[in-house]
Symmetry: C2
Subunit: 155 residues, 2 copies
Amino acid sequence: MTMDGARGSAPATEMLAGTTGWLLHETARRVVAETEEALRGEGLRWRDYGVLGLLQAAGPLSQQEIGRRLGVDRSTMVHLIDALEERGLVERARDPADRRAYAVRLTGAGHALLADVLRPVTETVHDRLLGGLAAEDRAHLDRVLAHLADQGVIG
Amino acid sequence: MTMDGARGSAPATEMLAGTTGWLLHETARRVVAETEEALRGEGLRWRDYGVLGLLQAAGPLSQQEIGRRLGVDRSTMVHLIDALEERGLVERARDPADRRAYAVRLTGAGHALLADVLRPVTETVHDRLLGGLAAEDRAHLDRVLAHLADQGVIG
DNA sequence: TATTGTTATACTCTATAACTATA
DNA sequence: TATAGTTATAGAGTATAACAATA
């Protein structure tokens, strides 16, 4: 499984730039950049997409819990949710079980935006960047990443 | 209109949070965070590691070329290279072919830091986060990511 | 006493634009 | 005229710390 065609003398697997983490990060950076470019007209950033996608996947969550899963401080979450609420994409309801916390949830408009805009845009970008993979390679990539998520690598 | 049954019952692969880009980004974010945590004592960030690893992989490059490959503006590169040069990890030499540009290259100390610190730390973090994968799955992941890099998905 | 959300503030990061020296 | 590097500056993004309401 030696990689050849390397620049310079060392094989690519020997180089830091060939490590899994490096490749993961650079690939993800490209996906994020192109997704944000495609969403620029909507005035949405990757982080907004993250909040909406998380709420769709997990159901209503407190601001702090959203921040914990996305790696964002609770003080930063305030502005993020403010903006999404002003646009009518999410709403704050007090959590009856703990009245200090909100249960932030998607509105109908939030669900519609995900289905009608974010998902198509995401698919287009994915196809452009990952279209060069064989179908079974792409499926395997998804399976491996999902497995890592199930294992808690994504928290 | 939108008939979303996403709440609660949809399989994970149907949800935005299950898309390839999302999983790539969250996985990479975790790897970056843990690598930076492990390198905190060295006073190095992921970006520094990126510059050093790139120079190791590609040989001497101009500041602008480093920035282009890492997605960083040339004005930002100045401070980044300044800091690495002050630490003796890289050095600026004028490119004889174009005396406007530098040929930034690793010093001996830079090579040593990569070999003695950055690579072991990277391997430890990778093993902790990706150790739950079957060996063939991890190899396949590397192969798929490297293929994307070869295709120019990573610029 | 601890925790959620909030606010004010300060800090970090980054890009933009103007300048220099080379091309 | 165009480009690599530099500099100053402004803007975005973020976290830290203190405060209010609730646990």
